[in-house]
Symmetry: C2
Subunit: 251 residues, 2 copies
């Protein structure tokens, strides 16, 4: 059994020393890698610099990335060159990356110039669309400006590329919400499952994650869901489900 796991959180650079970071310790990803490795699987593990790594190293290949763009390249490369029983996409991926960074006065001056003919909403939106700055790794924004205006653009949905490249792999997605009722978690989880063409989604809630506990709802479809309360249990239920469905699929 060969498994691809993503873990940790991406960082999108604002400049050479600042970045927008998705905080993720990587503990759940590590737990997942350990259970598969312990049971004889080989694991490709895509992770980020500050995330924790599995202790077991036999049959483990580590791939360290930083940005969403690097993740996209790495995941495509691995999917094109390997056949995975399952892909478990536990990494917290930036939804947005920096498109432009301008000092307030520069921003106002560009906008004012572009609004000479029309100052309606669509003209403002079009102007925002044209802004783009090179967040080169070799530059650091001067800290003299009183205010900066930053535009962020959506990153591509990497999870949606997985089944496009490898339609027969089992895909496990993750959905993190913040302080919602159980029904809402289920509803958004099911929505997410369909949208990403995933086989399972682990829906969880930031307010129900502590050092010792990690409530999670593994959703397979409207009728099949399992609720667990620790990272270890999350890893165990995902392993069990992949093993059942994966063995069937590998026959």
């Amino acid at each position: 059994m060969k498994i691809l796991i993503t873990s940790g959180g991406t960082t999108e650079p604002i400049d050479s020393v600042r970045g927008i970071t998705n905080h993720s310790t990587g503990k759940l990803g590590r737990e997942l890698a350990e259970i598969f490795l312990k049971n004889g699987a080989s694991v490709d593990f895509i992770t980020t610099k500050h995330a924790v790594k599995p202790a077991t190293t036999t049959n483990l290949a580590l791939h360290v990335i930083q940005t969403t763009r690097e993740l996209e390249e790495k995941i495509k490369d691995l999917l094109q060159n390997n056949r995975y029983t399952a892909v478990i996409h536990a990494m917290a991926v930036s939804d947005y990356r920096v498109k432009s960074t301008l000092e307030r006065s520069e921003f106002a001056s560009i906008l004012s110039e572009n609004l000479q003919k029309s100052k309606d909403i669509s003209q403002i939106e079009r102007t925002l669309e044209t802004l783009a700055t090179d967040n080169s790794k070799n530059k650091k924004i001067s800290s003299n400006a009183e205010m900066l205006v930053v535009t962020l653009e959506k990153t591509p949905k990497i999870i949606q590329m997985i089944k496009q490249i490898q339609p027969n792999t089992l895909l496990v997605g993750f959905k993190l919400l913040v302080d919602v009722p159980r029904e809402e978690l289920l509803r958004v989880g099911l929505e997410n499952l369909k949208k990403n063409n995933a086989d399972f989604v682990l829906a969880n809630d930031l307010t129900k994650i502590t050092n010792d506990t990690h409530y999670g709802m593994l959703i397979e479809n409207e009728k099949n869901l399992t609720e667990v309360n620790t990272k270890k249990e999350i890893a165990e239920i995902i392993f069990k489900k992949i093993k059942e469905r994966g063995e069937y699929y590998e026959k």
Copy 2:
């Protein structure tokens, strides 16, 4: 000898799961703490969650903070209640924090409304000034918007508060530049020394920091500077200087 060291990098939340992070491992701060602890000093060590901590714990008090605001409160509190021979401010502090986060359409609509009378630059600037969103810890931005417009405001210069509260402490500041010639590093370092009313500034260049090496220029004034090439040497030269000047000052 009692020393206050700041280390690591602050994070400014965008929402409950995203933040603007100043990447800093805290390795230099740890090296500094170790040399002072080894030589019998007691150390107050302000640091951040992901930064490395000193191995020596005797005479060490750890204070973990996240945001620039929390750093400001903690540093003021410690300076008001302790007398330090020196304050070594090695933490990478966010220059900016998030003031507002809006979807492009919301942003354009607010702006358009505010520009009905005038669309000149100063009116755009005034409108930007009025934007403010609550980056509450309990909310996560929906990831449906194609583009977000974020305004960032300058954070207060915490280093400039240090001598105001404790004028007789020896202050060591840090200035990180990216890929500049030696003369430029010296010029900006001296400027920084005066601006922050510091006794020493350690000027360094991101392109001259690797796992093994860390070029640094410790500047005392136009005529007194020492150049070193590793974190260990940086810690040693700072310890030596503080010891010399601190002993004189403590007599």
